[in-house]
């Protein structure tokens, strides 16, 4: 069993990962350590030995052209790749020093600790309240009805949706606008008090105003949660994230402070991508 310290004290394994070393780990608490992560879909290798450190209570953005493996990598953190027929994950991902691919670890617990918001808003076709209350209910997080209500209200407040829906908690979640639905999905994820929230292109189906609303929300949420976001929009990555990882053709090309990646990348491919020469 590998433990976190072996990785923290050594320079990162992959050549390209210049930034994910021990020096920057000191600036914040490292929440997730991924080393040598490869993903295969059948015989096809979608991700090549990726290594990255995710810092706690910050926003990390994964950027890159379509099909570069960033979503695939994101889905490794809550083992959503397990649900895809023929998908296979190799390598090590440690959450607070513990491997999430440990056979002893219950994936149900993992997914409660690592919440996810998807590309297309996908509220359950149930009431707004039921959408938010579902997670706490199945995990038994509330002792009473009032407790459950409290959790739902707090989650909706944190997701910035409370004022818009407080009068219609029993109306179907699918009746909300796209942006509201996505915030409902964020509230649903928050309701089980996750430590990490994964966001897979959460704004790609939304208009600019709804997008701005979600970006603001991310900025608030990073006070309490570790957020990893996959995005197609480089501007979005620049606006919301503290660290950025650039993927290309299944490889992690470069990872570092967002500021550095966008102003002074060390790789030519990164520079070409952020200046719009491909992708």
């Amino acid at each position: 069993m590998l433990d976190a310290s072996t990785f923290l004290n050594k320079p990162a394994g992959a050549v390209n990962v210049a930034a994910a070393g021990a020096t920057e780990a000191a600036t914040g608490e490292t929440k997730v350590i991924a080393r040598d992560v490869s993903v295969y879909y059948g015989d096809k290798r979608a991700l090549h030995s990726v290594a990255v450190n995710i810092l706690a209570r910050s926003v990390t953005a994964f950027i890159g052209p379509s099909g570069c493996g960033k979503s695939t990598f994101l889905r490794c953190f809550n083992r959503m790749n397990d649900t895809i027929e023929g998908a296979r994950v190799e390598g090590t991902i440690l959450l607070d020093g513990r491997s999430i691919y440990d056979p002893e670890l219950d994936v149900v617990e993992l997914r409660a600790r690592v919440g996810m918001v998807f590309q297309k808003p996908n509220p359950f076709p149930k009431s707004i309240f039921e959408n938010v209350a579902y997670g706490p209910r199945i995990h038994g997080l509330s002792r009473s009805k009032a407790d459950l209500h409290e959790i739902a209200v707090t989650s909706l407040q944190k997701a910035g949706l409370w004022d818009e829906v407080k009068d219609r908690l029993n109306e179907p979640g699918t009746g909300l606008s796209g942006g509201q639905q996505q915030r409902l999905c964020i509230a649903r994820a928050i309701a089980v008090s996750p430590e990490i929230i994964l966001m897979d292109e959460p704004c790609s189906a939304l208009d600019p105003i709804a997008t701005a609303r979600i970006e603001e929300l991310m900025d608030e949420l990073r006070q309490n949660y570790t957020i990893i976001i996959v995005t197609h929009s480089m501007q979005q990555a620049a606006r919301v994230s503290q660290r950025t990882a650039f993927f290309h053709l299944g490889n992690l090309v470069e990872e570092g402070l967002t500021e550095t990646i966008f102003t002074n990348p060390s790789e030519k491919r990164t520079l070409d991508y952020i200046t719009g020469r491909f992708g």
């Binding site: 997914r111 996810m116 579902y134 199945i138």
Partner: protein, 428 residues
């Protein structure tokens, strides 16, 4: 590049291009007419079927009844033992009082033939229900026998020579006198729904067939719904995709294509001969029919499960629901309208299935509705089969009427399926 190969300008108005466009439009019109013609043919055939059924069958929904003033004389029926009374003589006496001029055993027998030969039992039934009738004269309505029912409905023509019909001129005269006295009526034939089968067309009804079909479908539903849904959920949500599940899938599709008569043979060999279950019983019918509906239910349930968007599954799994919770809390409720629709359509299919029921003996002659799933019974389609095979004139229209009743049940079930689908269907 290949720019040189492209024409620089196209003349859209010369004869060749215009003719070409006209041909394309004509082809489109032709296709539309073919489709229209196909639909007209289908609707026409359906209309033809219904018209011929209604034309042949509507007469069976009314029944000629004759009202007699019957004197329940203590001479024939003892007050302390009404069951053993001689009701044949009770009928004879009441006919004698109406037709005093008819004498002699041959004529008296001919006169009695106007009434259903079940008449003594009908009177007996009334007396047993109300013993205070004994010693009094009461009006009792008795079905006319089949030849006179047909005569009254116009199916037996008076103009035809006497030797070619089952009613003599003399009998027609008596019948007309009864009619003139207002004793003949043609009310709605409730007996068609509330009587069991009989050798006498005027007494035969579908009660036995309807209860038999009901019990068989009940058994069929109780077996095929849970088994079918569970199998579909396993195959769709839990089974690994490998060679074994492929084989199972192919075989389920094969099962759907197996002729139902084969399931009947299986039922005969396994359920009746090996397990020794009772013959002609709805439980065996239901078990055999569940083999017929099972593939339908599995296939439609799988389609309904497939139609639930993957985003809902991801949403459930993403907040830490187990697969079991994902299926029971989210996927199944969303697939339920589709599952119910498939089940009802499967059951409707089973309701009309005849061949397997013939093989397990549900085409027996049974004069009492089944009291449970273990008692011998017929079913609606087998009743149609039995009646279609009967020589009496009255069974011709009754066969059509039975088919109409069967179709009515089928249409009702399909309408429920459509209603459920539209009512419960969700959009997301």
């Amino acid at each position: 590049m290949a720019d040189a190969a492209l024409p620089s300008s196209i003349d859209w108005s010369n004869d060749r291009t215009v003719a070409r466009r006209r041909r394309r439009h004509a082809a489109e019109r032709r296709l539309r007419y073919y489709g229209l013609a196909a639909i007209m043919t289908a609707v026409g055939l359906l209309a033809l079927l219904l018209t011929s059924l209604i034309y042949n069958g509507y007469q069976a929904f009314v029944q000629t009844m004759i009202t007699l003033d019957v004197t329940i004389s203590e001479k024939y029926v003892a007050r302390d033992n009404p069951r053993e009374g001689n009701y044949r003589l009770v009928i004879r006496d009441s006919l004698r009082s109406l037709f005093p001029e008819v004498t002699g055993p041959a004529d008296e027998r001919a006169l009695a033939q106007i009434l259903s030969s079940n008449a003594p039992y009908i009177v007996q039934g009334r007396v047993l229900d109300d013993p205070s009738m004994i010693g009094r004269t009461v009006p009792i309505t008795i079905p006319a026998s089949d030849p006179f029912d047909q005569l009254n409905k116009g199916a037996v023509r008076r103009a035809s020579p006497e030797s070619e019909r089952r009613v003599t001129d003399k009998q027609i005269g008596w019948f007309d006198r009864l009619d003139a006295e207002g004793r003949v009526a043609k009310p709605f034939n409730w007996g068609l729904f509330f009587n069991a089968d009989s050798r006498l067309p005027e007494m035969a009804g579908l009660a036995g067939a309807i209860t038999g079909s009901f019990y068989a479908l009940l058994v069929c539903f109780l077996i095929s719904f849970p088994v079918g849904v569970a199998a579909a959920v396993y195959l769709e949500e839990f089974a690994p995709k490998n060679r074994w599940t492929d084989i199972i899938e192919v075989n389920i599709n094969n099962l759907a294509a197996v002729p139902s008569v084969v399931f009947g043979l299986l039922g005969l060999a396994v359920f009746l001969q090996f397990f020794g279950l009772p013959r002609s019983a709805p439980i065996v019918g239901g078990m055999v029919l569940s083999l017929v509906t099972l593939p339908t239910i599995i296939i439609t349930t799988r389609a309904a499960l497939k139609a639930v968007p993957p985003s809902i599954r991801e949403a459930a799994l993403g907040i830490g629901a187990s697969r079991h919770e994902m299926v029971t809390h989210h996927v199944l409720p969303l697939a339920l309208p589709g599952i119910l629709t498939g089940t009802i359509i499967g059951l409707a299919h089973a309701l009309g299935e005849t061949a397997p029921l013939l093989l397990i003996g549900m085409n027996a002659f049974i004069t009492q509705p089944a009291g449970g799933i273990f008692e011998a019974s017929t079913a609606l389609p087998t009743q149609v089969y039995i009646w279609a095979d009967s020589p009496e004139r009255g069974f011709v229209s009754r066969t059509s009427a039975a088919i109409l009743v069967l179709l009515m049940f089928l249409i009702t079930m399909n309408a429920i399926a459509i209603y459920l689908r539209q009512r419960l269907e969700r959009t997301w």
